[in-house]
Structure formats: C-alpha cells, structure tokens
Symmetry: C2
Subunit: 340 residues, 2 copies
C-alpha cells in the first residue's frame, strides 16, 4: 500500500451503480477531493455477462450504461439507455408481433447495437468494438484518462432457473435480462447458470489493468451478477491475488437491501446473507485467498465493522449514498484513505 | 385474350411508380371502374435488384415501398419509407461516423429491416420473410386479394459504373442505391452490372403467377433497373412467352422524361431512345419474342401509336398521369380494355 497518490486505478464495474460511482470518482479526481495523481488513468473492467442477442443485435447493457453515463449520453431519470430517446423501433417490432417486447430497445440505443453487431460480424472482438464506440463517448469527455474494457471478448451469458409448473422438471431457465426486466426479479432465482464463464478468458489488457494498478476498486455493483461474473473469468481472481495494489470495495447493501438494484434476490439464491458484512464475507480477505483488503459500509451499518475486520478485511463506516457527485467523491476518497 | 373479366392479375413492379399504379388498380377493382372479377387476386412480382445490405441490415426498397403503400404505412409526401417516421438511428449512426450517411434509414423502417434480417439469418428465404411481413401490412387491408412476391430469393444487386478520374481505370463501380440516392443519377451511368442476376432463379410462385394469370401488367416502373431486372431473372421471360394471358404495359415515359423517376439516365446508358415508343421497342412484341401485347402511351404521345403498332404491339393513347386513385384506375381500365 503506497503513500504516493495512485496514478493507475482499476474499477471492476457492473452497470448503473458502478457507472455512478465512477462518475463521482472522476469528479473527485478533477476537483482534488480524491487523493489521486492529477494525471491518473481510470480503467473500467465491465461485466458482460448481462449481454444479450435480441432482434439480431448484440446488446451489452453494462458496457453501454458505463459508456453513456461517463460520456453524458445516459438518460438520467431511467439510469440506462439514451437521453432524448425515441421508441419507434420498439413500437414497430411490437406491431410485427415479434418477441421479446419487454426489452428496452430505444432508437438511439439501436444505433449503438447496429455498429457493435456489424463490427462483431466483421470479426472484431468486443474489446476492439468497445474502444471504437468509446471514441465517440469517452475520448472527447475524458481524453486518455479513462478506458473501458469488457471483462472478456468471449460470449458469456447469465441465465436464471425459476420455478415453472408447466415444465416436467418443475422449472425453466431464462436469460438474466428476462428475469431482471420482464419479471423484475419477483420470483426466486433457484439457480444461476453462467453460460460460457468457466471457458472464457480475460479481454486484452484486463489482467495487466489489475496487476499493474496502484489501486483496484470494487464499486457498489451487484456482487453476484456483475462483480461476481467478472471474478468468475478464469485469470481475474489470480490477478487480484498477484497485484501489489490494494483492493478496496464499497458495500452495495445498506441495512438489508440493495441501494440501487436488486442484489438481495441474487445473494439469497447463492446463500449469502444480505448485509454489508455478508457480502464482505462472500468476497473474502485477500490475505486469506479472497478479493478484498478494505471494505466500506454505510454509516448505518457501523456495528458490522468489527465483524468484517475479524474476516481480515479493513473496514470503515461512512455515508454510502450516491446522492450527488460530491457525495460519491467523498465515498471514493474514503475508499482511497482506508487502504493507504 | 378472354372475354370473361380477369380473376388472376399479375403485376411486374418496381417501387414508387408500380406501387402507386397497383393502388389505383385495387381501387378500380373495388369500385368497379376496372373490369376485373369481383374476387380478383392481384399478385405483385417485385424487383429486388435495388436491395442493399446497409449497417448490417438487409433492405429491400421496392418490396417495402409496395408493402407500405398498399398497407397504408407509406409516407405519402416522400413516396418511400414510413409515415410518422423518426430519424434517431440515422442521426446516431452519423454521430458514430459510420458510413453510409446518405441512405434514408428511418427508425420505423429499421424495425422492418431487423425482422427481415433476423429471419434471413435464421434461414428463411426472402419470399417467406416477405409473406411474414405482409401479414401485418397486406392481410388486414386486402385479405387474400393481394400477394407480394420478390422476383427471386437469390441475392441480386444492380451496380453502376461511373467515371472516376482518381481510379487507374478511369471509372469506379458503385451500388445502384449510391448512384440513385447519393448522386441523384446526376452523372452518366457508363454501364450497369446486375450482380447475380444471370444465376438467379424465380422465387416460388413467380413463374406460376405469370403462366396461370388471366392478365399480366407491366406498370409505369423503370424499364431498366426495375422491370428490366425482373425480366432478367432466367425463366421469367420464358414464362411471359408461355402464358395465355395478354401482357399489357403502361409507358413510364411521357414526352421525353420519366414521370416519377429517373429512367432517362438508365435508358440512355443502355442506348434506348427516351420515349414511349423507344421503351415499347425495348420491351418488344410478344408475337416477335418480346414481352408486350399492348402498350399505353400518354395522350401527349398519341403520334407514337402508329409507330408502336408497327412493332406488333397494340397501342392506345390515354392520360397517364397518376394524379389520384380514380385517374390511375382509369389507366388500369384502359389497359384491360386494350388487350381484351
């Protein structure tokens, strides 16, 4: 753990929560609220296990949420998709009677998916496609100070087993997006199936972004279907054990619920207690073969600090509500301080 | 040539001109202005040589123009694409810097292309895809009285050779859509290349639609890049020679120009005189191995009737301006009368 301000910062991110955290982190670096080098480079390794092929288009929800949020193209109310969006394509697909109708496919968003799909079909890997798309969104706004990498170039998809009385087996397996968007995670997830995850390899630059980092951050993203899948790419856990950089995380759980998401259902499905310390225990201490050196919990969960430190993880309780960029920058600053 | 009203009518159509003619024909059948059987079935065999793959989408401009026009989804001012169209996808593709930017890809239209592309990629032939799309557009408006068939399920694309000083050969070959839309046919077409046409086969039902018809109509579509390509599918000319139905056409040229299109440039490029009789001569009399039994010219071209009849083609001069459905129905009625 260094005493010079970190210059190379790597964030393992899901969609909304991660994007919002990174936005505050970048704000904090710019304003000096966060003690990073002035020329710090933030590398975002984003989850791609939410990806879905829909209407012949390759959609990467987490990559796009990060890209649109940090490129100021996000719809700030919805928290996903494009601002000033129109919905003609979706209306028309419904008029043709084409399924699925529940997927939020905005017209502006469709253009991103068309570019991505066409580049993939021309043979470019997802990481190269992402770099190309980011030339529009991230380069103008952040220059060389921000990079976005998919966790892998391989096809990985999270599927969810749910009860289904009509099936002889008593259950059926659906894409995570169907579980999340169509069913709003309203039924228990009996099992999670990460199709392709165990055979995937980290995208170019991902391992180096971890092993050569000065600081690695696990933002308040979903511990199971966002950070969990990133950690599931063979080679990424190993890189986290190998790096000399400290690894610090921020709890997405405050009290007994997920602040901006539906992590409860996912944690329950894998038998993890829905609490800040439950998630810390799930990630585990790096000194004991796990992921974390430090863990931030919300001020309301201060009574869990001792329990987390017993796991071998430094912990501190601070306000963890990302109400605005300053509040989020303060969270990032606390994370930096905890592991220095 | 029968004396009972035709029940099975087949039209060899391009885009705008053909679609507008068929609209008037159907109106005339419904109102009794056109002497067809009350339960007449109109089969449209549409040109697909204008088709283009753009942004990974298969676009079939003539099929869509016919489908949208007859399904009342067309933009009546533009004459192509969807009414109440939005343009978010096009704006965004331009913002990504993706070429081509000149192609008119509306958001509602994109949905049609997504359905088509996905069905093609799933292995359905274009004719099956067209039938599926028409279930939305033509079945509700026309029931079983109207069928739309692509001329072929094979990939056929018209390309155009134009002068290019920068090329060592002095010319370059571009897709017909680039010539038509981007260049507005403003430079001479030195040659037309119908890629794939000579190896194509008629789509299922096309030959039968001609050989089993009671009347075949060549509407005022482009004689070179619309009707010409339909006639270029091996087997279609043979079917026209074989059928017992009379074949009657309507001149797209009035005076020395194309009423609603840019056929002049195309006729010039293949050395055909730009006149009603020039086009009649290009098609030729069926009795002499050509295509036509009858040919309608505009009232202003009445002086060409004798010359056309010398070619072995019955001819009559009537008003050929499709100003409204009634005027178009009157043209269709004249076509029916000429060959009965």
């Amino acid at each position: 753990m260094q005493n010079t301000p970190p210059r190379s910062i790597t964030v393992l991110s899901g969609g909304m929560g991660g994007a919002k955290f990174i936005q505050g982190l970048l704000h904090g670096i710019r304003t000096g609220q966060v003690p990073a080098a002035a020329d710090a480079v933030v590398t975002v390794v984003a989850n791609t296990a939410d990806d879905i092929w829909v209407h012949g288009l390759k959609v990467s929800p987490d990559l796009d949420t990060v890209m649109y949020t940090l490129g100021e193209g996000i719809d700030p109310d919805r928290g996903w998709g494009r601002r000033e969006e129109t919905w003609s394509v979706k209306e028309e697909l419904a008029a043709y009677g084409v399924e699925p109708t529940w997927f939020g496919l905005g017209d502006r968003d469709v253009a991103t998916h068309l570019v991505r799909t066409q580049m993939l079909e021309a043979g470019y890997p997802l990481s190269a496609v992402t770099t190309a798309l980011c030339q529009r969104w991230l380069t103008p706004t952040h220059g060389d100070g921000l990079r976005l990498l998919p966790m892998t170039d391989d096809r990985v998809e999270t599927h969810v087993a749910i009860a289904d009385e009509e099936s002889p087996s008593g259950r059926k397996v659906i894409h995570f997006q169907e579980y999340w968007i169509k069913l709003r995670a309203s039924v228990p997830a009996e099992a999670l199936v990460f199709v392709g995850l165990d055979r995937s390899t980290p995208a170019p630059g991902v391992v180096e972004a971890i092993t050569e980092a000065d600081l690695v951050i696990v933002p308040p993203s979903n511990p199971v279907v966002s950070v969990g899948t990133i950690l599931g790419v063979p080679g990424i856990r190993e890189a986290l054990l190998e790096t000399t950089a400290p690894v610090v995380g921020l709890s997405p759980i405050v009290g007994t619920s997920h602040v901006r998401g539906m992590a409860e259902q996912m944690l329950t499905s894998i038998g993890v207690e829905v609490s800040a310390s439950g998630v810390a225990g799930h990630y585990g201490a790096r000194s004991r073969g796990g992921v974390l050196d430090g863990w931030l919990v919300d001020a309301r969960d201060a009574d869990q600090v001792a329990r987390i430190e017993e796991l071998g993880i430094k912990a501190v309780a601070v306000p963890l509500m990302m109400t605005d960029h300053d509040a989020t920058a303060a969270m990032a600053a606390s994370a930096f301080e905890l592991v220095r």
